[in-house]
Symmetry: C2
Subunit: 202 residues, 2 copies
DNA sequence: GTCTATAGAGGGATAGAC
DNA sequence: GTCTATCCCTCTATAGAC
């Protein structure tokens, strides 16, 4: 039924195991970073030995890669980074993403920690974050360009700057929020940042 | 002449040594973070053994503390975070700070890396960064409040949000800039962000 | 003030039993 | 699929010689 020689049950169990490890990995890399987080710690959290974990992921970097791929997949469901530029709709989906992020502090911490760590050229996720920012900032800039054409942008607002700044605000607010979650509402602040750039209501 | 029993020359040499270590420490903690950076690496850079380094700074955390204190001192010279709120002048000095930062990528990387790492509650610099953001965001918010009173703020701009966002943009742009220094001019982008909030020229 | 040596903890990855 | 045992590495900090 599955198209190969192995019974389906074993696969399901392995997939579930990988998933557990993935989630524990996010927890650990979030708070300790990749370089400082240990796969021993991750293995402990799923009640497994370190060698047992390495049966599912060949190396520590292999696990990191899987985490980043998994998270990319989740992101794509929310943003549709591939299709046609979407203007105002894209800005709205970024706002919704931020609202959603407020409910998953672990993932926010993961990205905040990893992106800073990965500014270092020899970090295994360095190229990943360069690509990611190119994509995400590009997505924002293209959206503002489309809004400019549609007359939805206030006078003097440059699409390229507005796009870069919007992503910058999202990232910067995350640091402030992680240090003190009561000090601000990320989605609200982002709304306050973006609304004045527009001639239409968000 | 120095007011105590030890010869001045020895002190001067020690101070110079501490300074060298401090600078090497910034280099290493910048690119590797605090938790992953090693004092052995720092010692190598000043041509010294690791044990030799620990003669000048009792522990790794002791060195980190000294680095943060030193950098605070530099910052205070540029911003005057203590005195009376300064309105537009304060916004201008933040812009100048960003311009200055573009010339010292190492320090930018240090703060970017450490602040992200220190969102973790058990990080030795955790409280330091909570305090620092309280101070810096407070400085920005108070400045915008003063500008509101002076009629220098555009309609609908809330000082509290504008202050938090301005700091957020500064931090967010740093990440983008560290990942790709050719992709943007931090000071220019910040200017583009702030100018539309004002009724006066920057 | 600086060194060598070393203690003692913790890390990633591999080998091989079950 | 999971374990134990182990290898070999790196790290911080200390002790003690010079």
């Amino acid at each position: 039924m599955t198209g190969n020689g192995k019974p389906r049950g074993a696969y399901a169990k392995t997939a579930a195991r990988r998933r557990e490890i993935l989630e524990a990995g996010i927890e650990v890399f979030s708070s300790s970073g990749f370089r400082n987080g240990s796969i021993r710690d991750i293995a402990d959290r799923v009640g497994m030995s370190q060698a047992g974990l390495l049966h599912h992921f060949a190396s520590k970097i292999d696990l990191l890669t899987a985490i980043l791929e998994w998270r990319d997949h989740e992101d794509r469901e929310r943003l549709d980074l591939q299709g046609q530029p979407k203007g105002l709709e894209a800005v709205r989906s970024l706002l919704e993403l931020v609202e959603h992020n407020s409910r998953v502090p672990g993932l926010v911490e993961l990205y905040c920690t990893l992106s800073a760590e990965a500014t270092s050229a020899d970090h295994p996720a360095h190229q990943y974050f360069i690509d990611r920012y190119r994509t995400v900032v590009g997505y924002a800039v293209e959206s503002f360009e489309l809004m400019r054409q549609r007359g939805e942008l206030a006078d003097g607002v440059e699409p390229a700057s507005a796009g870069r700044s919007m992503i910058a605000v999202m990232d910067g607010l995350q640091v402030q929020w992680l240090l003190n979650r009561e000090s601000l509402d990320m989605a609200l602040e982002l709304r306050h940042h973006v609304q004045p750039l527009l001639t239409v209501d968000l």
